[in-house]
């Protein structure tokens, strides 16, 4: 999901850049030197994902995984997605140089929304909540992106209203696919490498670790 160069008006493009710079400045401050490899890796996963095409009926869509980035990186999802978009632009002209700002607001914002949804899981005490909230996070990221996309189009000019509508509809299957994938990934990570997930409470990670002979006699924390 990208807006291409040459569609949007200057004010919308400018707004995109201003928003992006502001949010990037804010989120980058939470970035520590030791985070760089982790963030870079997820960025390249995000970037590579856009090369995976999932067949739906006669056509296919590519994965976006903005939600997954949010679930794994938390607030750092924003700069990560920004970098991914910059690379996509530089390397194969998805979108374009002038729309980096808008695209980042659209997808990176989706990542932040996904993180917000993901964090809600702590309020619930149900089985498989990682899968459920991962799925919700994946879906909400795309949903948010779709809305931003539509808004950007509509504010550019009323001749885009219909296009915006079609785009939103076209995103429904994407929402479903992303919900499934992000949900499955979150569940997988919770089982295999819980410390890789964002916003994981130390206590919620502990039971996921296999009890070893040494720790079996100890009482589980709380």
């Amino acid at each position: 999901m990208h807006i291409s160069d040459g569609i949007l008006s200057a004010p919308v493009l400018t707004a995109g850049f201003i928003g992006t710079v502001a949010l990037a400045a804010y989120t980058l401050r939470q970035l520590d030197l030791d985070d760089i490899p982790k963030v870079s890796v997820i960025t390249s996963v995000f970037f590579v994902a856009s090369l995976i095409h999932v067949p739906i009926g006669p056509s296919s869509v590519h994965l976006i995984l903005g939600g997954l980035v949010g679930v794994v990186l938390g607030m750092r999802a924003f700069p990560a997605i920004m970098l991914g978009i910059i690379l996509q632009t530089i390397l194969f002209g998805h979108g374009g140089v002038t729309v980096i700002g808008v695209n980042t607001m659209m997808l990176g914002g989706g990542g932040l929304v996904a993180y917000g949804v993901w964090q809600l899981r702590h309020r619930f005490n149900i089985k498989k909540k990682e899968m459920l909230f991962g799925g919700l996070a994946g879906a909400s990221a795309i949903f948010f992106s779709g809305i931003v996309l539509a808004l950007a189009l509509v504010t550019t000019g009323e001749e885009f209203i219909a296009t915006a509508g079609y785009t939103l509809i076209a995103h429904i299957p994407v929402i479903i696919i992303e919900a499934l994938i992000v949900g499955a990934c979150a569940a997988f990570l919770a089982k295999v490498k819980p410390d890789a997930l964002a916003g994981q409470l130390p206590t919620s990670a502990a039971p996921a670790v296999e009890p070893t002979t040494d720790s079996r006699n100890e009482k589980p924390p709380r």
């Binding site: 410390d195 009890p211 070893t212 040494d214 720790s215």
Partner: protein, 313 residues
């Protein structure tokens, strides 16, 4: 650094992985400056884990590591890492620059050296591992053995005082393995060599530490441990191949019924006198055993015989 300062010193080292796997169980050992030590042990013994504790890549769950007298802890890491260079087992973990040249230049550049010195070191290290002319290739488009050698070069160019190698010779072709051995032998740095290639250990190292299941089982002169078939086999290892041939010849001799007694005696004596044979390229070294009962006068003494390898050179 005087011969008496411990280059590496660990005391009561414990390490447990986040998933609860207790890997190192009270490792205490001291390696002096200038020593060449082989660390051997079966798969999963904890060798690689031990190495990653030496420069603080992982911090111990319990116990301490000192490098040249400085304790390895968060505050001292930058200093420690200038002193000790580690070549990890998996080359793909260590190559991250766009070109071979950049990968080798990475360490020296971080030391803040001037460009021409960096360049000189890069060329020298590449030559050492036989990768001259690979400068502009991408590291990720090399064959496995080439990557392995490149990983070696990236640490050699850094020139730390203490060098730690995790399985350096795997996937190298025999010629490059031989070059590596010769370099290791001629180097005067402190070297810790972790390897399953016991022949390298036998040729290069004076001391050998045998690790099994996270504990040190033996720590002695390399020649003593590497000749001890029973000890090695109890720990999932085997005699070095060079020695094995030797032992086999002995066995053949013992079981060859058509041989007359005199001949058997003469051959037996010869084999016994040269039990510890090292194969270097075109050069012959052989050691007589410390506890050799045939030539008791040679105790604790090594011979070097020059034997120029005949025909094909």
């Amino acid at each position: 650094m005087s011969k008496n300062t411990p280059a590496i010193e660990t005391s009561q080292l414990f390490f447990t992985y986040p998933d609860g796997h207790a890997v190192l169980k009270s490792i205490t050992c001291t390696i002096r400056a200038g020593e060449k030590v082989a660390l051997i042990g079966p798969n999963g013994a904890g060798k690689s884990t031990f190495m990653s504790l030496l420069n603080g890549v992982e911090l111990p769950t319990n116990g301490q590591v000192h490098i040249n007298g400085t304790r390895v802890e968060k505050a001292s890491l930058i200093e420690i890492r200038r002193k000790i260079g580690i070549v990890f087992q998996d080359p793909d973990d260590q190559l991250f620059c766009p070109t071979v040249y950049d990968d080798v230049a990475f360490g020296p550049l971080n030391l803040g050296l001037p460009r021409d010195e960096v360049d000189q070191r890069v060329q020298e290290s590449l030559a050492l591992v036989g990768l001259e002319g690979f400068d502009e290739r991408s590291s990720y488009h090399l064959s496995f053995g080439e990557r392995k050698r490149l990983a070696l070069a990236t640490v050699l160019s850094y020139r730390p005082e203490i060098l730690v190698f995790d399985e350096p010779s795997t996937n190298m072709d025999p010629l490059n393995r031989r070059k590596l051995i010769n370099w290791l032998k001629s180097s005067d740095k402190t070297i810790l060599l972790c390897t399953h290639d016991l022949d390298i250990a036998l040729e290069v190292c004076d001391r050998c530490i045998l690790l099994t299941d996270g504990k040190i089982v033996a720590d002695d002169a390399a020649s003593r441990i590497l000749h001890n078939r029973q000890l090695l086999e109890e720990n999932n290892l085997e005699l070095p191949l060079a020695l094995m041939t030797h032992e086999l010849l002995n066995n053949i001799l013992k079981n060859q019924d058509d041989l007359d007694e005199d001949h058997r005696f003469i051959i037996g004596n010869f084999l016994h006198a040269h039990r510890h044979v090292h194969g270097a390229d075109g050069e012959v070294h052989f050691h007589v055993h410390a506890h050799d009962d045939l030539n008791p006068t040679h105790t604790h003494h090594d011979h070097d015989h020059q034997g120029g390898s005949s025909e094909n050179r």
